[in-house]
Symmetry: C2
Subunit: 336 residues, 2 copies
């Protein structure tokens, strides 16, 4: 899926900032791609962008309106439909991360047909992929993996992309989830792909590239999560990473949504190498990212030091302290 | 997906027996469920069932007509449509393993709507599943796993089901592919499920049961196949097997369809335990099934002896020599 830029962010009338998390994430990472925000009366989220409607945004050059919000159950409220139709009529594509397909609303489907603009449901994969082949491709790849779901794999990948490019690497974030697709303008919601094509979709996402270019691949789930490990393994095989970074949330005791205990960072390293070597025998860990939000600064620094020492790997909290230790180690090796 | 029985097998006018493999497999394993076969002029496959059309089959008690054939590309030839419509009008459901959905043919969709009979596309999963939870369920489970795709996992599971029931076990085959679904009358084509729900679909397929009952789960792919390992891992986690049997084809040097070398049986045992213990810490191998079709009888017996000795596990060729060594070992432990 490829989105045309720049974007108009539609925030609707969501009740709080959390409901606009996707839209706010786009602004955090891709401020330059956003010409404005369109908010309905009583909207409680604010991405701090110029306020404009679809017609103004089209005049300002916008190509795609992003419905960057969640609603209970992923539904599309009836009173947002007119705004979406208006965007199509103003000449914008409309991209949504809601569960409900945009085209399932007759008024939206009609407006899209009439205007020829595209409806892009990033949660719903209509693209067909080949099955994965496992052949080695040129270029370098780094995958973020996790001890669990929702431990910062996307954030870490985006922060590494930015940090590596700042140090002189040619690095490109590769999105595997809906927010990531909006942020990169391209990608695939890999958990929405038919099971037979997980690794094939990951291969499509990370094609052969320049030998020194890095694709920084957003991980999904965990090899140790009983709901999603199949997705994680297909992504690992398809991405054939040269390098991986383990993401971890140290206060969690059970995996998200289930009763399964969390694996250790060491178990994740061991399993990722054991399974990942199938498509890249040279796979190795190059760092650890720990979410220390629940700790005070002293505890956080002590935790990073302790983890770094235990595993002999650069260990970061990308939100709190940045990504330099990992990027510097990569630069010493690859930019020498 | 649940199919009503008994079946009428529709063999169309396929050019050879291989094109009717699915239908012939149903007769091999479930002769009692088949009231007859319907062949069009020039059909070159023969399941050795009474010849009858849909009206005769309905009179004989048939409930479902199985389109148990493949055609180049999984398409539905135009000249089969009238037979399918006739079956619906005779009061039969129609189940198909073709890629093309039955309801995508207007005449078939109309006939189904008019008659109220069901169209069952076993390759296409419309059912929605919960995500896998990983909670321990009562009952015993055995999963067939493989060093590769197409090494006899379905055959081994069906042969174990038959052999175990003959020795006094309460064993039930659980189908994860299209032919298996026809043979068991229930199941899910697990490679057609959306990636997020692989382990959830496997949990649905193998629900809690009597503590001494065994579910014999048809494996898919291989943890070492770069195209399909995600499916294999999700199935392993969802099925939470107590026991597994490794299926192997000793003359293969590369994995099916790709350039990846075959893993050893030992590597498969090690990875299956390492990953499977997440949802069943007691997981263990209980046997090995080797396809010795390419060897003469002396070589075959020598191969089984050598593998059995190397891994200290009962080793069988279920097609050539039956499943007794594995079933006897299980009986000694569980039926004592």
């Amino acid at each position: 899926m490829e989105l045309e830029r720049p974007y108009l962010l539609f925030l609707g009338d969501v009740p709080d900032a959390l409901a606009a998390k996707t839209g706010l994430g786009i602004v955090d990472w891709r401020r330059d791609w956003c010409v404005g925000q369109w908010r309905l009366p009583n909207c409680k989220a604010d991405a701090k962008l110029p306020e404009m409607n679809a017609t103004d945004a089209a005049a300002a050059g916008a190509k795609t309106m992003i419905v960057g919000v969640v609603n209970a159950g992923g539904v599309l409220p009836d009173h947002w439909i007119a705004s979406i139709v208006e965007a199509l009529e103003a000449g914008l594509d409309v991209a949504s991360g809601l569960h409900k397909p945009l085209a399932s609303v007759p008024a939206i489907a009609e407006a899209a047909a009439k205007t020829g603009q595209r409806l892009l449901d990033v949660r719903i994969s209509k693209q067909s992929f080949a099955t994965g082949k496992g052949n080695k491709r040129s270029g370098k790849r780094l995958l973020t993996v996790g001890t669990d779901c929702s431990v910062g794999k996307k954030y870490t990948a985006l922060a590494l992309e930015a940090g590596m490019n700042a140090k002189g690497f040619d690095a490109t974030f590769c999105a595997t989830g809906q927010t990531g697709v909006f942020i990169s303008g391209r990608g695939v919601a890999i958990d929405a792909v038919v099971a037979d094509f997980i690794s094939g979709a990951a291969e499509w996402l990370t094609p052969a590239t320049e030998p020194n270019a890095w694709q920084i691949v957003e991980g999904q789930g965990s090899l140790f999560h009983p709901s999603f490990a199949g997705v994680s393994l297909g992504l690992l095989h398809g991405a054939q990473p040269d390098a991986f970074v383990v993401c971890h949330e140290p206060t969690r005791t059970k995996m998200r949504g289930v009763e399964t205990p969390l694996p250790t960072i060491g178990e994740v390293i061991e399993a990722t190498i054991a399974m990942g070597k199938l498509t890249n025998p040279a796979i190795r860990p190059v760092g650890i990212a720990v979410n220390t939000a629940a700790l005070d600064e002293g505890e956080a620094r002590a935790m990073l030091y302790s983890v770094a020492t235990e595993y002999n790997l650069p260990t970061i909290d990308p939100v709190r302290f940045g990504v330099d230790p990992i990027v510097d180690a990569l630069a010493a090796e690859y930019l020498a």
